[in-house]
Symmetry: C6
Subunit: 271 residues, 6 copies
């Protein structure tokens, strides 16, 4: 299934996204009902691109924020700033999305501090409200507002996990790495390399992903393959590009680096 | 026992709630005497709906706040804000409820920081007072004010539990998932699906809840079944809807996801 | 020994308190000499009522604050607030008590942060002074000022305990649950139920308190029995009232709840 | 050796102190050279009284501060406060002592946060300087300024101990409980009881101090004996006074309380 | 491969850098495409010099910041400051680099707090944007802007490591200590000593780097050898210089210091 | 080797320092080249005196700051203060040293928080720059500026140690306790006692330093011996002085105190 750009004017250029499973249909159904969506998947598999694509197709603005461990609800909702002796309220990104009916994408939600819960929960159930305590008011989300959050299940820990009471408010979509043909298309298009180079990189990526007893914390993502392709497009040799963008990016351990080098030698075409 | 809407004008549309046990009678008795109430029960079993229903029936305003681990008493009581060179006091949600005689519902109370104790205790015993230190005053709660807190016993831990000296000030009501017929009614009404689909979802929910040796941290809540129903009402197939709203929402583990998928195949009707 | 209301005008209605041992005599002696008092005892045994009673008898104002783990000395002493471009000093509750010669009751003192020590110590020895660093001054306590603190020995832990250098400044009074006749009087009076119901509740409370190998963290307090009585006074059946106000309040564990239910069946009269 | 009041006018009434060993001579020598002094000893053994006495004898003002775990150098040195739109510098207690040539007594120094080191070190060696960073200046201590700190070795822990680089700047004086005759004098004088009662209390204190295999964290201090005496002076019986001021003050454990009670019965005279 | 200075005017004098492997080609390719670069390597191996060289060759300004564990995104992006009653926005170093199209070098990135992630991520992928929440705006990076971060894999720990979702956005270049001839050139040039002295120092450095079972946390870096050379250039004897700049710098353990001293005796020429 | 005062006018009286090894030559070489210096050595061995001496000899101002665990870079660099409605920048001590070309001595550097790294690093390598982010500027160090830091290797721990990337920027000088004749001179001069008393104290110090299986965390420093000498100069007996200034200063353990007392008896001359 390939996405064709909708006729609705949007603020971003048509993103390049190749769908793999039901993700588009499920997102559309959730959007139709205003249900919040949780995207699950590994680093660099295309979660951000998918949201950009859906925003484009649905004709809605997209506001993206990356969660981090110092992020509090004030970072999302807004705060008073002192300007010229006056205190002026400045909307945070979530408040802007609620007012404009935009899609709000909170990437890596488990990194944020838990007081963000206080603003996520009433927006993620039948209330669709944002309490803005500092203003002493509660905003109803404009039509079109949709909450999307993402996280990487591989990073879950006792300290950083999604609370069940948060998680059970979201329709969950799992994304993974696409099959070879689709990933080859993506790498060729994004990196600006020929299909043969793209396919070689994808074959290498899959070889790394299927390493038995792998010592890697994370496998080679589509993003890494695109980085390597980009260096090739700038004139670097394929092996040098792969060494920097894939091998050195994946590990600091000299034994692992050597083993990955041997895998590269075995998989990449001899030029 | 079914709740019929009272004649008292309220600010919210009549909520849909199907009572299961003594909960309505106990809440009414506590409300009659101004005693605080503690709701216990799993995520998504309908605690919030129950409070909305009781507020509606009693004709009182309801102010809801979700506890979080950065929540302090100032978030509940209020604070001074600088506006145009003047400092202006802004009531917090608890202070508003105390002044207006509203029901104040503090969801997931164990998440809040313990300095909230200082404002909860004198409101939860015979004093019914709110000390507002920053204003140097103490407010007596208006008639009709009632404190309701909730928590999920399954989340209790050494670090996050309700202090006994707090807990023993509250009348406790335990809520669970409703029996099949009532839950089917709720899912059909809330999701806007036909009774057969609702019943199929409820049967699936009960199958998951009764899994022996379940690896799940939390079972499928009524809320999840309503989410799945909502996707069906938007045109998604039942299995696709269940996959996103139930299976992927309950677990990230591929083995568990597969096992749940088999359970879905066994329980859901073949279409 | 029963307290009779003194002739001295006070700000609160005569509290209902039934003395059990030497506590009134010891408190009177300490008050006569201005010595600080430490009340020890379990949750809900009547510590607050005892202090209210003594304040009433001695004709002194009572200022009560509940300790919590974010409480600092500024919460007790006061702080500067910005109002209309001016910073205005606002006395904290302890400073008010020191100026007015009131009884200052700091409930659950071990919960407060240790910088509260710095203001308690010079008030709790021969100096009877309150250093107010922010004002650059030291206040001498007015005659009649008395410091009372309380804690529950059952909650002591390595992290939260009273420092010896604090503890050894106080005259200590231990309070427990009263004998059956006195507790029956208290429950009947406070809940507004007849003596038979009150006695049934007290018998139940004692049965729970004397359970061998009890899995409960805390036993049924007088406070819980009064709560149950209050629900009965509102028209609930005795068993339903006990289920919410005692059984569900004491435990979340379904086995323990069942066992307590059987104890209730055995102890309460069949109606 | 008994201290006689000096002819120098002081701000406090002549304190009552009975010297036990070399402590007065060592303090005088240190004061003569401006060397800082570290007092070591258990809770309630008279450290504060000793410093008050020496300040009185030397004719110097005494400024006392109790260390606590939130105490920072700003609490000692001072800070800017906003008053009427102007920021006004307010000297902290240490700065006042440095300007006036007073004795500065920092009680329980190990409780304070370690940034107090930055102001203690240059005052405690040959420099005798106080850096006041906020004012961009450094004050030379006036003649007569002397730094005195105290701590209780029994409370030392890995987390809270005096850094060697701090400790080795001080002349150390160890104080303990006085011998029977001196302690009897002290208790009789401070509590206002007759010598027989005082001696009975001191005998009890020594019996507790010499308990073999004692389960107590801290023994009965002179301070506790004075408290008990004070209750007797207010008309309480000796046993009741000892129960509240000594036994209940020393332990919350019912077995220990009972054992101490038996010791009291054995030691105190039968009245 | 030796770098020759480009004709483009730069703000720094031509840095002295001797390339070892592909690092210059890879950096050039990344710069050509605006891809962010991650430099990996031990302390003192020349990471900073390499970035200075590349900035010089590419004719771009270089803005360098060292990460530390209190560094937040505001330290990078900027903040409002109060000046003359007005609040004035002051760009942080990252914002300046984004506006000017400079190379921004964040040294020891793993030391910074994780909220820096929020500003690094959108600058490190196809978006090349810097969200400036406090101004309510998002800046597009000027052409020429490039993000470079570095870290030392030997310091990685569970608490301080680069998140995979950050790491996989960067082209990685590993730097090590250069071969003998190149390092001798570097030491001679930087320290201003003759080639023989430089070679002796490099031989010593390599002997230390290849110690079997070395107890050292870190080996002798090129930086240390240059320090030692500098002391020689100031007239110190070679052994004295090595003792201070290498041996004492590497260890505090007297056994290790002695062993290193023997190694020095064996490796350095007898003068 | 004895230091003779230079002709250059300085702000401090000629300090008394007796050199032991190469420390003066190494410091002079480092100063000649502007290289930063790291002083290692135990508490009280004379590190501060050594820096004072070198500053005096080189004719430079000395600015000293003691590191502590709440020290941040702002404490070193400076901050804005609000004065009369205006915010005024106040240079921190490091900024003053950078502007004036003074020696900046950061004592116990490992105690400071790691954001001090951000200001130390660019001052400690070829850049000799101080970034002042709050002013949006970077200061070049004036000629004569030199950074000196110290720490006590015996205090190193996993949590508090010098980062290798910091450490390898410094020329390291190890200081220890001086030999008997030099230390005797120092004690006699500083304490104002006769050579016999000084020698007795030094012999005692060495006896303690060479105790086998010593339970002491730190040995008797030169500083302690000077303190004891000072008490003797004030008229105290030698044994009494040693008891307070050495024995009680070194340990709180009664067994250790007794053992040290026996050592004192054996070593000190019988008077």
């Amino acid at each position: 299934m390939t996405l064709t750009a909708s006729a609705v004017p949007t603020r971003v250029a048509t993103p390049f996204y190749r769908a793999v499973g039901d993700e588009v249909a499920v997102f559309r159904a959730a959007a139709g009902r205003g249900l919040p969506v949780l995207l699950k998947g590994p680093t660099g598999c295309g979660k951000t691109r998918f949201v950009e694509t859906m925003a484009h197709e649905l004709g809605r603005e997209l506001i993206t924020v990356a969660g981090h461990e110092d992020m509090t609800s004030a970072d999302l909702v807004g705060r008073f700033l002192l300007q010229g002796g006056e205190t002026v309220w400045v909307d945070g990104p979530l408040t802007r999305a609620v007012r404009q009916g935009a899609i709000f994408y909170l990437d890596e939600v488990v990194e944020a501090r838990q007081d963000t819960t206080v603003v996520i929960h009433p927006l993620a159930d039948h209330r669709r409200e944002l309490p803005v305590d500092r203003l002493g008011t509660t905003l109803s989300a404009a039509p079109g507002f949709q909450l999307v959050i993402s996280y990487n299940p591989g990073y879950q820990s006792v300290l950083k996990s999604l609370k069940e009471s948060t998680r059970q408010r979201f329709v969950a979509i799992e994304l993974g790495f696409p099959p070879v043909d689709i990933e080859t298309d993506v790498v060729a298009h994004e990196a600006g390399v020929d299909p043969e180079t793209a396919r070689a990189l994808v074959m290498l990526g899959n070889a790394i992903r299927h390493l038995e007893g792998s010592p890697l914390r994370e496998v080679a993502s589509t993003r890494l393959l695109i980085l390597a392709g980009g260096l090739v497009a700038e004139g670097l040799g394929l092996r040098t590009a792969v060494q920097s963008a894939v091998v050195q990016a994946l590990s600091d351990d000299s034994d692992v680096v050597r083993a990955l080098g041997e895998l590269v030698d075995a998989v990449l075409p001899r030029t």
